[in-house]
């Protein structure tokens, strides 16, 4: 920073302030232009894509390595293997132990994270720019050359088993895991990445090594670098860090599996719970649906923002909850549409009735109004630029392009694509992709208190599920 940026303090402005009009809200002026990040792309000889974005305002660089293999690539009977493998990546490499790897990252002041979803896993490192080369070398060690030692495997698996034990205490997590299983059964999306006790207990270090060799492969991976960096320099450094990473024989990608027909109403008892965790939804659409933008607008109005129909109803009108929302979880294969809310126990049946009513309403009986449509589109478009402020944000956005095969001009096209959605589009796509008759409802709550109220819902007798069935 130059001297002219020096701080100045404690001045009292002179003159009088101009008068203001409080009779109406000021209209925003014209939007200021914004250039979306330009992506430079190369591919290493081993197939690894290297994509960079220059974003030099702060001397920080974010590296994200995305591999398009996630929990849906878990082999049958091995739920949790992809996540366990991802967890083993930073447990040592070459001559370094797990602790030594993390000491090396700490000496760079690095922010290190591993993340896994259904379709992909990612490993990210953010550092001050002066540590870029050393950080990339460590990222290469972690992803391409993990030690995968037996003793580390035993310890890491044990920690994940303990974690599963603890997750059983958390009603929201119990609801999420059980709901996926109800919707998807043995389909690759039917389990959360952490898997199950039985599957984890059956795994060996050889399973992890084999998964790494087969699935964590350069041709499935994209390295995204965003920050104070130069494309050629990043490609050169990536060549050094990932050059020895070899492509494996072809692996098995996620396949479509048969999905069960879940009962309409399900409950996992949680005696004396002060709230009921609710999940209501069904399997909906994949990310590549042509209705993507219309569904985003529809969801924003229904349950995707504070002033959505569902939150205004359950929180701001009824006071039943701290917050309610809906989402289409867009994935490579059809992902779930789900409403999630935690409501006070006494309001459980009312909240389910209101929720299903809102979902059914937006398909036609209560179409979106012009005002709702304008607000929903504005909320999605006017603030869009703020998603591109930090290196980490831009890297995450660019990873979405790699994950879903989206074009480079996707960001620039987003606002016009959303802006043209009409009220008819919203009704049409919701009628096409959401069906009240197919909704599955799950309650994690106090069966003794809420049970009697459920009869009036007309959803049939609730199926009582044991908490440890998932």
């Amino acid at each position: 920073m130059s001297a002219s940026d020096a701080t100045s303090v404690d001045m009292t402005p002179s003159g009088t302030a101009r008068p203001v009009d409080r009779s109406r809200l000021p209209e925003p002026g014209p939007a200021r232009p914004f250039a979306f990040p330009a992506i430079e792309k190369s591919t290493l000889p081993n197939g690894l894509r290297v994509w960079t974005v220059r974003h030099p305002q702060v001397p920080v660089i974010a590296f994200d390595l995305l591999v398009r293999r996630g929990a849906s690539a878990d082999p049958a009977g091995k739920d949790g293997l992809a996540a366990l493998t991802a967890d083993m990546l930073d447990e040592g490499s070459g001559g370094r132990t797990a602790i030594e790897i993390h000491e090396a990252l700490a000496r760079l002041g690095a922010q290190f994270d591993t993340d896994i979803g259904s379709d992909a896993l990612s490993v990210s490192v953010t550092v001050l720019s002066r540590f870029a080369g050393r950080a990339l070398t460590l990222l290469g060690d972690v992803v391409a050359r993990p030690a995968m030692r037996e003793e580390d495997f035993v310890r890491v698996r044990q920690l994940r088993l303990h974690r599963l034990t603890q997750l059983r205490d958390m009603p929201g997590v119990v609801a999420d895991r059980a709901f996926l299983k109800l919707l998807y059964g043995s389909h690759p999306y039917g389990h959360s990445p952490i898997g199950s006790e039985a599957a984890l207990a059956s795994m060996t270090v050889d399973d992890v090594r084999a998964f790494h060799a087969m699935s964590i492969r350069p041709s499935a991976a994209t390295l995204v670098a965003v920050g104070d960096c130069d494309h050629a320099a990043v490609v050169r450094m990536a060549g050094d860090a990932f050059g020895g990473w070899e492509e494996a024989a072809s692996d098995v990608a996620a396949s479509d599996g048969a999905m069960p027909a879940a009962a309409s109403l399900n409950i996992i008892p949680r005696p004396n719970a002060p709230q009921s965790e609710l999940r209501i939804g069904h399997v909906a659409v994949p990310r590549d649906t042509p209705d993507y933008h219309a569904l985003l607008v529809a969801n924003t109005i229904l349950g995707g923002q504070f002033v959505s129909r569902i939150n205004l109803n359950l929180r701001e009108d009824k006071g039943f909850t701290y917050g309610a929302r809906t989402a289409f979880e867009f994935r490579r294969l059809p992902g779930p549409f789900v409403l999630q809310v935690s409501v006070q126990t006494s309001a459980t049946a009312r909240a389910i009735e209101e929720s299903i009513g809102e979902i059914a309403g937006i398909r036609g009986p209560r179409p979106v109004t012009a005002e709702e449509l304008e607000l929903g589109i504005a909320a999605l478009t006017r603030g869009y630029a703020r998603n591109f402020e930090t290196a980490d944000q831009i890297a995450r956005a660019v990873m979405q392009l790699a994950l879903f095969d989206l074009p480079d001009d996707y960001f620039a096209e987003f606002v016009p694509a959303v802006a043209q959605i009409s009220a008819d589009d919203v009704s049409r796509v919701m009628a096409r992709h959401v069906d009240p008759a197919r909704l599955t409802t799950l309650i994690v709550g106090d069966l003794d208190v809420v049970g009697a109220d459920l009869d009036a819902l007309g959803l049939g007798a609730p199926v009582v599920l044991p908490a440890d069935a998932f």
């Binding site: 002026g29 200021r32 000491e103 034990t165």
Partner: protein
Amino acid sequence: MTLSFTKYTLANGLDVLLHEDHTCPIVAINLWYHVGSKNERPGHTGFAHLFEHLMFEGSQHHDRGYFQPLQGAGATLNGSTNADRTNYWEVVPSNALELALWMESDRMGYLLPALTDAKFSNQRDVVLNERRQNYENRPYGLAPMALLAALFPSDHPYHWTTIGEVADLHAVRLDEVQAFFRRYYHPANASLALAGDIDPDEALPMVRAYFEDLEPGDRVDPVDASASLSGDTRIFFEDRVELPRLYMAWLTPAMFAAGDAELDLGTDLLANGKTSRLYRRLVFDERIATDVSAAQNSREIAGYAQITATAAPGHTLAEIERAILEEIARLAAAGPTEDEMERGRVQAESQFIFRLQTVGGFGGKSDQLNAYNMFLGDPAYFDRDLARYRDVTNISLQQAIARYLAPSRRVTLSIVPRGRVALGASDSQPAVVS
């Protein structure tokens, strides 16, 4: 790197901080009120946080929800309450700065005419549900209530949590809430930061237009209170959990006070991340715990350090407690290694620079400027704040650990699975939590 700004103080006492950053066509509007749960009284807890909710429900000239016009302009917005301050922020496209100033000023100057019984009881129900969701129905969720109550005496303003007591939330009357607003939510008790795509020559007149005619209230005196521990307070309660968890806590220096940075770095090297001493020992080597973490919780008038660890199945909190005390004693006796010091310093530097990446929201540049301005009266503190961490030596860190993390003056809380009291630390008394 530094954090540049210009500061003005309006005639009514409102501090205004302006920071230019044209990276993105957005502006963060960040308004701090110097009021938190420490300004409440026993029997009347939860007010500051309840107010945070009510501030989104409408004001005299816009007697409707605050989210709709702001989200319609492309804003993201939120607020938060802690023991010391309440903040409200919007990140708006730069063309909607005036809208955000209109709305923030209206709820500062004209909230009460629009505050009805109906809004009040609705948001109280929402807060009671927030409490159920985040504390009562969450495993270990009532630990903060038990810890704070044991660390600070009943008349100390840190004795209770920001969410408040259920009985107090039920008992609160609208006129009490109105009096609370008049006392604390006015220009002379607030700090407004704008960071982002602004032209200061346009932004300052706009701020003055909306805020300068708002009436200041009486000056709010600083809250003064002291706390001390004379022994080891050992308490437990039973919860709906599978694994027992140990909490150890000590009274420590306040935010920015001597020793605060040492304890921040010291708790990190004891128990944060895979390189920390306690992770290596408890989780990696001995495998008697599933997780361990620590923090120096720096607050305006006092701090407290906390170490938390969950026992692995088959192990007790007595084993965990013994190991933690040994590691604290070792650090207090021999101090950190040079490598630990180097890692701590570079991590602090990195975290400071990372924070400069965003203009707003929680923890961005606008929030940072307000924190320095409100707690120190010195928004230019960024460089000296970083220097506090650079200046920590292995001797000063060792001395702070030895002085403040004393085994003889602490709170030791065990949360155990129902019916499994023997898994907790020894000689503990039942804690009353609700």
